[in-house]
C-alpha cells in the first residue's frame, strides 16, 4: 500500500484551508500531522477519503492510492475504498456512534456493506477484531452510552481492523480521552500496525502523543506545512520557529522541554 499526496489544495469559497505539497505513507508506516485547531489537519484527512467535497470544499491536486488517482474519482469507487482500504476514526467516540442503535448493529451493517454476507461470518469477524483490541464480544450488545469513550474508540478501531484496512486515518482519536486510556489505545494501535502492516496517519494537536506514536511528522499552521521530517529529529531540534513554539508549550514530565528552555 502506498498513498502519495502531491500538491493537495483544499479550499472553501476560494480560501485555501489546507495545502500539502508532498506526503507519502507506505504500509506499516506511521505519519503524524500536527498543529493547532484550524491548521487544516482534519481537512487533509477528509480530502483523502473524498469527504471534503461533501462539506462544500474544492479539492485540487493529486492523491494516489497505489498509483490510482482519488481526486475527482466517482462517489461509487470512493465508497468502495472507504472503510475497506482506508479507515477513519474520529475525535469524539461517544458521538461517533448512533445512540439509539447497539454497537453490534452498526458493526454488522459495516461488515455487510463490504461484502461479508452471512450473519455468522460477520459475528466471527467482529469477535476476532474485538479480541485484537482486547474487548469482549458482549460490547456488541451494548448501546454507546453504556460504553466508555475508550471502549467505543476501540470498537471503531476494531471495525477498521475487521475490514483489514491498509491505512487508518486517526483524527484526534485520543483528545477526548484521559491519559491512561490514551496509552492503552496507542499500545493497541502499535500492535495492530505490526501484525497487520496497517499504516497510520495520526492527526493531533497533542504533540506529546505525536512524538510517541509517529515515525515522521508534518507540522501545519493555518493551512500550510511549515516543517516536515522524522519525528525524533523535529522534536529534538525543530527548525521552524512555529514548531519550536509548539513544542516548547508542551510540558514534558521527567524530561527537558526541547530547546532546554526553563518554564
Amino acid at each position: 500500500m502506498k498513498l502519495e499526496i502531491a500538491d493537495l489544495k483544499v479550499a472553501f469559497d476560494g480560501r485555501v484551508v489546507a495545502h500539502v505539497p508532498e506526503l507519502e505513507i507506505a504500509s506499516g508506516e506511521s505519519v503524524g500531522v500536527a498543529g493547532e485547531s484550524g491548521s487544516g489537519k482534519s481537512m487533509t484527512a477528509m480530502a483523502i477519503l473524498g469527504l471534503a467535497q461533501r462539506l462544500g470544499a474544492d479539492v485540487e491536486g493529486s492523491i494516489k492510492l497505489d498509483g490510482h488517482e482519488l481526486v475527482g474519482e466517482s462517489e461509487r469507487n470512493l465508497r468502495a475504498i472507504r472503510g475497506r482500504r482506508i479507515g477513519m476514526i474520529f475525535q469524539s467516540p461517544s458521538s461517533a456512534f448512533n445512540p439509539v442503535l447497539r454497537t453490534g448493529y452498526t458493526f454488522g451493517r459495516v461488515l455487510a456493506l463490504h461484502g461479508i454476507d452471512s450473519r455468522r461470518a460477520r459475528r466471527a469477524a467482529a469477535e476476532t477484531a474485538l479480541a485484537e483490541v482486547r474487548l469482549r464480544p458482549r460490547v456488541l450488545d451494548r448501546y454507546p452510552h453504556q460504553l466508555s469513550g475508550g471502549e467505543l474508540q476501540r470498537v471503531a478501531i476494531a471495525m477498521a481492523l475487521a475490514l483489514h484496512a491498509e491505512l487508518l486515518l486517526a483524527d484526534e482519536p485520543t483528545s477526548a480521552l484521559d491519559v491512561t486510556v490514551q496509552a492503552e489505545i496507542f499500545e493497541i494501535i502499535s500492535r495492530i500496525r505490526e501484525t497487520e502492516s496497517m499504516a497510520l496517519l495520526f492527526i493531533s494537536h497533542d504533540l506529546a502523543a505525536v512524538a510517541e506514536i509517529t515515525e515522521r511528522v508534518v507540522v501545519m499552521r493555518a493551512g500550510e506545512v511549515v516543517e516536515t521530517g522524522a519525528t525524533r529529529a523535529v522534536v529534538d531540534a525543530p527548525a521552524h520557529p512555529y514548531t519550536r513554539a509548539l513544542f516548547d508549550a508542551v510540558p514534558v514530565l521527567g524530561g527537558e522541554a526541547s530547546g532546554a528552555h526553563d518554564r
Binding site: 472507504r82 479507515g87 474520529f90 448512533n98 451493517r109 456493506l113
Partner: protein, 337 residues
C-alpha cells in the same frame, strides 16, 4: 424504568391537580354573582338565595375548593348554564366530532409536513428549502378562522365542489347507522353504508384542511430542523467514512434519531389543534367541542368553559405522558435499559 414511569405519572397528577385549582380560580373570578346568573334575570330574591345555597356559595373557601376537587374526581363537573345538562355529559356528546376533525387534520399535517420537511432538509440552502420554509411559516401564521371562510368561499360558493355544513348530509340522519366509534367516517365504513361514507368524508375535507394548516407548518419545520441536526453529528460522518451511501445513512440510521423531537411536537400540536377547532367549527356547523365552546362563551357559561378547559388540559397532559413513555420505551438512553 419503573422509577422513571412513576415520577412522570406523579408529576402529571400534580399538574392536573394544579389545573383543577386553576379552573376553580377562573370560575370564581367571574365578575358578578354566579347565583344571580344561575337563577336567571327575572329571579326573585328568594330564588337567588336558593341558587346561592344550591351552588354552595355560602360555605367557607377551603370547603368550596374541597367539594370542587372531589366533584371533579367523581365526575361531577358542574352543570352547564345554557344547556342545563351536566357538563361532563355535554362533553361526551360533542368531543367525538372534534376528535374526528383533529385526527383527520393531524394525519393530513403529517402526510404533507413530513415529506416537505425531509425535502427541505435534503435540499438545504437551495430555493426549494426556502420555499418550503416560507410555506411552513404561512401555515403557522395563518388565522384559521379566516382560512376556513376562504375555503368555504372557494370550494363551496364558487366551485361547488365540497359541502360546508355539518358532519354529513341531513338525509343520513333519518336512518342513523350503528355508532361503534361515534366517528361518522369510521362508523359509515363499518356499517357498509358507502353513501354515508362518501358524504361524511366530503364534509370532513374542508374543516380538516383548515385545522391542518398550523400543524403542517410546525411539523415541516420540526422535521427539517431535526434532520439537519442529526445530519451534522459525528456518527453520520463516520458512516460516510465507512463507505455508506447517503440514502442508506439517512433511512437506516439517521432517521431513527430524527423522529424523537418530531413525536413530541405532534403531541403538542394535537392539543393545539383541539383548541383551534373552536375557531372553525361554528363556521362549518360542526357539532363538536368547538361549537359547544362557542355557545358557552356567548352565554358566558362559566361551568361549561371551565369544564372545557379542564378537559383539554387533561388531554394535553395525557398525550404528553403517552409520548414520553413511548419515547422512553424506544430510546435506550432514557431510564429503561
Amino acid at each position: 424504568m419503573t422509577r422513571f414511569l412513576a415520577r412522570r405519572v406523579v408529576l402529571s397528577l400534580v399538574v392536573v391537580a394544579g389545573v383543577v385549582l386553576l379552573t376553580f380560580v377562573i370560575a370564581r373570578i367571574v365578575p358578578g354573582d354566579p347565583a344571580t346568573s344561575w337563577a336567571g334575570p327575572h329571579a326573585t330574591a328568594a330564588e337567588v338565595a336558593q341558587a346561592r345555597k344550591h351552588l354552595g356559595l355560602n360555605r367557607p373557601f377551603i370547603d368550596q375548593v374541597g367539594t370542587y376537587f372531589r366533584g371533579i374526581v367523581v365526575g361531577r363537573w358542574g352543570t352547564s348554564i345554557h344547556t342545563h345538562r351536566p357538563v361532563l355529559s355535554d362533553l361526551k356528546t360533542v368531543v367525538p366530532a372534534s376528535l374526528e376533525l383533529v385526527f383527520a387534520a393531524i394525519l393530513l399535517a403529517i402526510a404533507v409536513g413530513v415529506p416537505l420537511g425531509l425535502l427541505a432538509a435534503r435540499l438545504r440552502g437551495r430555493t426549494t428549502d426556502h420555499a418550503v420554509r416560507a410555506v411552513a411559516i404561512v401555515g403557522v401564521s395563518m388565522p384559521i378562522f379566516w382560512l376556513a371562510l376562504i375555503l368555504q368561499l372557494v370550494f363551496f360558493n364558487q366551485l361547488h365542489l365540497l359541502p360546508v355544513a355539518g358532519e354529513y348530509a341531513l338525509r343520513f340522519q333519518e336512518h342513523p347507522v350503528h355508532a361503534y366509534t361515534h366517528f361518522p367516517v369510521i362508523d359509515a365504513a363499518l356499517n357498509g353504508n358507502w353513501a354515508m361514507l362518501g358524504s361524511s368524508f366530503s364534509h370532513l375535507v374542508l374543516p380538516a384542511c383548515a385545522v391542518a394548516a398550523y400543524p403542517t407548518g410546525v411539523i415541516a419545520r420540526m422535521v427539517r430542523a431535526s434532520v439537519l441536526d442529526v445530519a451534522g453529528e459525528t456518527h453520520v460522518q463516520m458512516l460516510r467514512a465507512f463507505g455508506f451511501r447517503e440514502g442508506t445513512i439517512f433511512n437506516r440510521f439517521a432517521m431513527r434519531l430524527a423522529w424523537n423531537p418530531v413525536a413530541q411536537v405532534v403531541a403538542l400540536v394535537f392539543a393545539y389543534s383541539l383548541v383551534n377547532t373552536f375557531l372553525v367549527e361554528s363556521i362549518f356547523d360542526w357539532p363538536g367541542l368547538g361549537s359547544y365552546a362557542g355557545e358557552s362563551i356567548i352565554a358566558l357559561d362559566t361551568p361549561a368553559i371551565v369544564g372545557i378547559t379542564l378537559f383539554v388540559a387533561l388531554v394535553y397532559v395525557f398525550v404528553n405522558l403517552a409520548v414520553d413513555l413511548i419515547q422512553a420505551a424506544l430510546d435506550p438512553r432514557i431510564g429503561l435499559h
